[in-house]
Symmetry: C2
Subunit: 368 residues, 2 copies
């Protein structure tokens, strides 16, 4: 089917493939699955402005999952905020999911704090600081189990949207992309105003050195790259993507972290690439301090779609600040928005999304 891609979706890479992909998922019901993990990497001072209490980042993925399921958090009061104090982009995801009546699942790659909600247990552990060079225990087992879960979800879905929530994930993304031989320096995004590229580079350099592995070894076996300098979200997300994309189209919902997952997917099972698109936000593709399209173009001919959300007109500073680029993506916000648009054949657009996001924002802020 050929469709005109609506204005609410920007195409940023592989325009022809993007059109074909959107045509294939147009009007098809999407299922959302949120992969979660924790990594000590996010607690390195300066990597992610985690505030006075870095341990709070352990709660963020659980709280995000609870927000999607219940419209509120259970593991703490209020909603998760980004390191810079902006409400989680999970509010966008939750709004898109509600509006499109999307079924929700979640998958635990390895966390310190578990959500009070059902999730696929993949028997992974929370990740260590990647400077150790031994960041993730047994990612292969998590990956293989996630592949099976992806196949189960594909058996009950027309389209799968795979999102993520993990603090510190852009540094581990840089780690894995570098380990797999891609030129990712200065190209991964950040949740902070100033993207601390040189610190991230240094952390990754130390991690790869301490892993005792060569880039060639890691390129040959992408699970070694995760084990050395990745995070526990990665084998979960990569496995779900591979298992599902064997059968149905999959939107990899995220920014440069999903570029890293895409690199892993390509390394494990390149045959599924034609069933994939990256789905992210305008704020990611327009970010001057990172370059998702360059990253994806190094990996494969996979379209990059972006939800053309505009929070400029919002009366809430916590939302309009998104236009400054300080928060760009997370919890699959962009991909979930795109799936809401495509599954509704464009009846849901970015304006309708903003309206629902504002309502949910008001409701959640009142609760605090």
């Amino acid at each position: 089917m050929t469709v005109k891609i609506p204005e609410s979706i920007l195409v940023c890479h592989e325009a022809d493939k993007a059109k074909e992909f959107v045509g294939r998922i147009w009007g098809k019901k999407a299922t959302f699955v949120c992969t979660i993990g924790n990594t000590e990497t996010g607690k390195i001072p300066g990597i992610s402005a985690a505030g006075a209490v870095p341990e709070i980042t352990d709660f963020t993925p659980a709280a995000d999952v609870e927000l999607l399921y219940y419209g509120k958090c259970k593991c703490f009061d209020g909603v998760p905020v980004t390191p810079t104090g902006i409400p989680t982009p999970g509010i966008i995801t939750m709004s898109a999911i509600k509006l499109a009546n999307m079924p929700i699942f979640s998958a635990n790659g390895g966390v310190n704090v578990r959500p009070t909600a059902p999730y696929f247990e993949l028997d992974g552990k929370a990740g260590k600081d990647i400077r150790t060079g031994k960041a993730v225990e047994n990612p292969r087992k998590v990956y293989e189990t996630a592949v099976i879960a992806g196949e189960s979800l594909a058996a009950v879905s027309e389209v799968l949207v795979v999102g993520e929530s993990i603090a510190g994930g852009t540094t581990t993304a840089l780690g894995v992309l570098t380990a797999l031989g891609y030129d990712a320096r200065g190209k991964v995004s950040s949740s902070m105003a100033d993207n601390p590229h040189s610190l991230k580079d240094e952390v990754v350099r130390i991690g790869i050195k301490n892993s005792g592995l060569t880039l060639e070894q890691m390129r040959q076996d992408p699970m070694l790259a995760i084990a050395a300098v990745g995070d526990p979200m990665m084998p979960a997300a990569a496995g779900l993507v591979v298992g599902a994309a064997r059968h149905i189209p999959v939107i990899m919902a995220g920014g440069t972290q999903m570029a890293a997952v895409l690199a892993l997917v390509k390394g494990m099972e390149p045959g599924v690439l034609p069933n994939l698109a990256i789905g992210t936000t305008k704020w990611i593709v327009k970010d001057g301090t990172s370059n998702i399209c360059d990253l994806v173009s190094q990996i494969g001919k996979v379209p990059v779609l972006a939800a053309n959300l505009d929070f400029g007109p919002s009366k809430h500073p916590g939302l309009s600040i998104y236009e400054t680029g300080i928060v760009k993506e997370g919890v699959g916000a962009g991909g979930a928005s795109i799936a809401a648009i495509t599954s509704s054949k464009g009846k849901i657009d970015c304006k309708a999304l903003l309206q629902t996001i504002e309502q949910n924002y008001e409701m959640l802020m009142k609760k605090q």
Copy 2:
């Protein structure tokens, strides 16, 4: 829609409702979910002939789930056998699922041994000996999370089949039915040749006494009944049934254990009863040492359907022995068979099922 119920399905209770239920699910795709748990109750000598190593029963649910996902077990070699040495009825379930191409999920109510496969984690713990009167920790949390998982599965399914695997489950079924005020003495089934009713009665009597609760308290709050004399499969199964049956028809796949789950469901959310049927096997409904129809009739107007499997013609003693009634049900074998029949509009019948079961049996026995 009115359909003639095929000969492959026996109707054993509430014939009119059974016909209406089968009409509603005819041609509809079914999703299978296996709930698992462990209870120390299964290790009481004489309750369940667990053989020389009662701890092996800890592995059975995990092995059953692996059998469904992979067609073989991962946590040990070969296939699980019943206490009397007969291959698990999970072979029936696996065959029905394969034949009807049914999506598979599993949910962990509380086990000592986890499957190497994806499962919904509900954060429950393995159950204690019910003679303690404190058999299950915090069943309410498991139940509530399972309700959410049931809603998610309903959002992606037309019909849900909820099965179970837990050793010792008929004694805990007697416990919960008794605690909820039903007359269940001499009516729950057994995996042994001689159903040890008087021992089960005694175990339940001690458990209820040690719980310090009155029947009235437990009737008022069914979660107290599970906490006192139930098992961890129960809140998982009851929650999945309630969450799904709010939206779609649900086959409760099991024998007298599912009667106990039905009693819990009725106690928690009686409004879902019109969306339920018990789906079991001929060997359960014809069992002279138990009485599922009497149990269900005490609970509510819920149809009891039975897969009319006949293993008499099988050339394998491990299968033909089912006709002696020594193994009757388990891993949702009956309900999965019924769903295979209804989803295929009767194209799959009990003869086709036996053929596939024999093939899988041969394949699995060769591996041992």
